[in-house]
């Protein structure tokens, strides 16, 4: 008995020394694997699902150089609900951003382009007024300077706390995309996990080329809303990138480890 107890204690001591996050589980295929196997791209070694990453990581994987613009832009002070303000505060601390999207001018080799990366850690990448303003200004700058634009979307949709003003961003950004397009400039939309709601229903689906990563969740309505409406469970894969590709709404699914080289080619060929 005593022997057993001490063995258990030893085992516990050993277990305590193992860091909690040594093993990770893929949220898509549920495979468990040693964290190191995620590699620098944070891809599942089994199914190639791209784990959610923040803006700094994404930019470092895509750009050789990056200069942010409009970094100081913040949401208007007329949104003064305390709960909302504390959410903004928390998101700012976690991401180091003032708003849910990082925008700027990036370079792959000698090719310059406008780049926006929505950060899911910032109130679920929701589209607020300042998010919309940053995206609009990026498109406007790139229209003026004849630069292509790449947007990495990741969003739960419109930002509820900003109400109808958030909805209007869908129109505002869409017009900036249209003006950029009229000048014959290229816009590549990369839909990353998850891209839903008002972002899917606006600029994420307005690219000349719309691409995604394996198994990315892409949809308009949320799964629970649909379940409630139709009183049925939709198929497991119904809002995944592969289904959208099959149904004709994506140009390609590109693994994260191949994203930079793919973008480099598309930017060079247009």
């Amino acid at each position: 008995m005593t022997q057993n107890n001490s063995e258990e204690q030893d085992l516990q001591t050993l277990m305590d020394k193992i860091p909690d996050n040594l093993w990770v589980k893929c949220p898509f295929c549920k495979a468990s694997f040693y964290r190191k196997k995620l590699g620098k791209y944070y891809e599942c070694p089994e199914c190639s699902f791209g784990f959610r990453i923040g803006h700094e990581k994404r930019i470092s994987l895509i750009c050789d150089e990056f200069t942010p613009i409009n970094a100081d832009l913040k949401t208007s002070s007329r949104f003064d609900d305390e709960k909302y303000l504390s959410k903004l505060d928390k998101s700012r601390k976690i991401t180091g951003l003032n708003e849910g999207v990082q925008t700027g001018i990036g370079k792959i080799g000698q090719q310059s382009f406008g780049i926006a990366v929505m950060d899911w850690r910032f109130i679920m990448g929701s589209l607020g007024t300042a998010t919309g303003e940053k995206l609009t200004r990026l498109f406007e700058k790139c229209t003026d300077e004849n630069l292509p634009v790449v947007v990495f979307s990741a969003s739960g949709g419109a930002r509820m706390q900003e109400g109808i003003h958030s909805l209007m961003q869908m129109a505002k950004v869409s017009q900036a995309v249209a003006d950029h397009s009229k000048k014959g400039l290229l816009y590549i939309s990369v839909l990353t996990d998850p891209t839903t709601g008002g972002v899917t229903a606006s600029f994420a689906m307005e690219g000349d080329i719309n691409i995604s990563e394996p198994h990315t969740l892409i949809g308009f309505a949320g799964r629970r809303v649909i379940e409630k409406t139709i009183q049925q469970r939709p198929p497991k894969d119904f809002q995944r990138a592969e289904t959208l590709l099959k149904n004709g709404f994506l140009d390609a699914i590109v693994k994260r480890s191949e994203m930079k080289s793919t973008l480099a080619k598309l930017l060079a060929w247009n």
Binding site: T129, I164, S174, A201, F220, A221, F238
Partner: protein
């Protein structure tokens, strides 16, 4: 007595509200419904066609609720599918080709949340309706008749002006949905409605809508709306196309 925001939500949803059919019939001298999206189907929630108002040809597209249980089921209670938006966009582009003004009448709780709707590109079609709609070079007027629900309403409300009937609401989400997301409690819908700023008075203050029109319920109110529409169309028709579009784009650029 002032109505609470939630009373307004109820009035916007009321079955006594004028139907889109009756509204179209009242506004036009004659009207021919046109069907189909030329790609997949014909969504009965989207009622659209060509008619004349005092002899002036116009294209009307609309999202309508049903008048009884059967028609409500068929029209998903006024929630359009992607083929509905595709039909509306097709006819709006046709209007541009023939230099006809566009009038959009909106009464929808939101775009339909269904599996097929997702398969057929609900998000894509709303996005395209917005982006292409913003650039149609003919007068484009939208009226929120009852409910203006989220992206499903915005898809048909990106023109030169957006008007709203007295008993209407326009919002990012239903108050029930908003209460569920923010407070995990759909029974707090009335409180949500107050907070959301969804009444025509709130919306006009924020420049989301441009005019509140008296509730249309009889010949007199219909005629008055008809006159307002003709007046606005004539005003917009006088503008060179560049200026028309420039003004329209500025209208949406200002939302910060």
């Amino acid at each position: 007595m002032t109505k609470s925001a939630y009373d307004r939500v109820m009035a916007a949803r009321s079955s006594n509200k004028i139907s889109i059919h009756d509204l179209v019939a009242g506004l036009t001298d004659d009207f021919i419904e046109l069907h189909g999206d030329r790609a997949y189907g014909d969504d009965p929630a989207v009622y659209a066609g060509i008619g004349t108002i005092d002899g002036l040809p116009v294209t009307i597209t609309s999202i309508q609720k049903g008048f009884d249980t059967d028609s409500n089921i068929e029209r998903h209670f006024g929630s359009a599918e992607p083929d509905g938006y595709r039909k509306a966009l097709r006819l709006m582009k046709q209007a541009e080709k023939f230099n006809r003004p566009i009038i959009n009448l909106i009464n929808t709780p939101g775009a339909y949340p269904g599996v097929d709707a997702e398969y057929h590109g609900q998000g894509y079609m709303i996005a395209q309706s917005i982006m292409q709609g913003l650039n149609l070079s003919v007068p484009y007027i939208s009226i929120i008749v009852g409910e203006g629900g989220s992206g499903g309403a915005l898809a048909l409300a990106v023109g030169d002006c957006v008007w709203a009937m007295e008993n209407s609401v326009y919002s990012i989400l239903s108050p029930e949905g908003y209460a569920t997301i923010l407070w995990k409690d759909s029974s707090r819908a009335a409180e949500a409605a107050e907070q959301m700023g969804l009444t025509p008075e709130d919306l006009i203050e924020n420049g989301i809508i441009d005019k509140i029109i008296p509730e249309v319920c009889d010949t007199e109110t219909i005629n008055s709306l008809k006159n307002e529409l003709l007046k606005k169309i004539n005003e917009l028709k006088k503008l060179p196309k560049d200026e028309l579009l420039d003004n329209r784009h500025k209208r949406y650029r200002k939302f910060n």
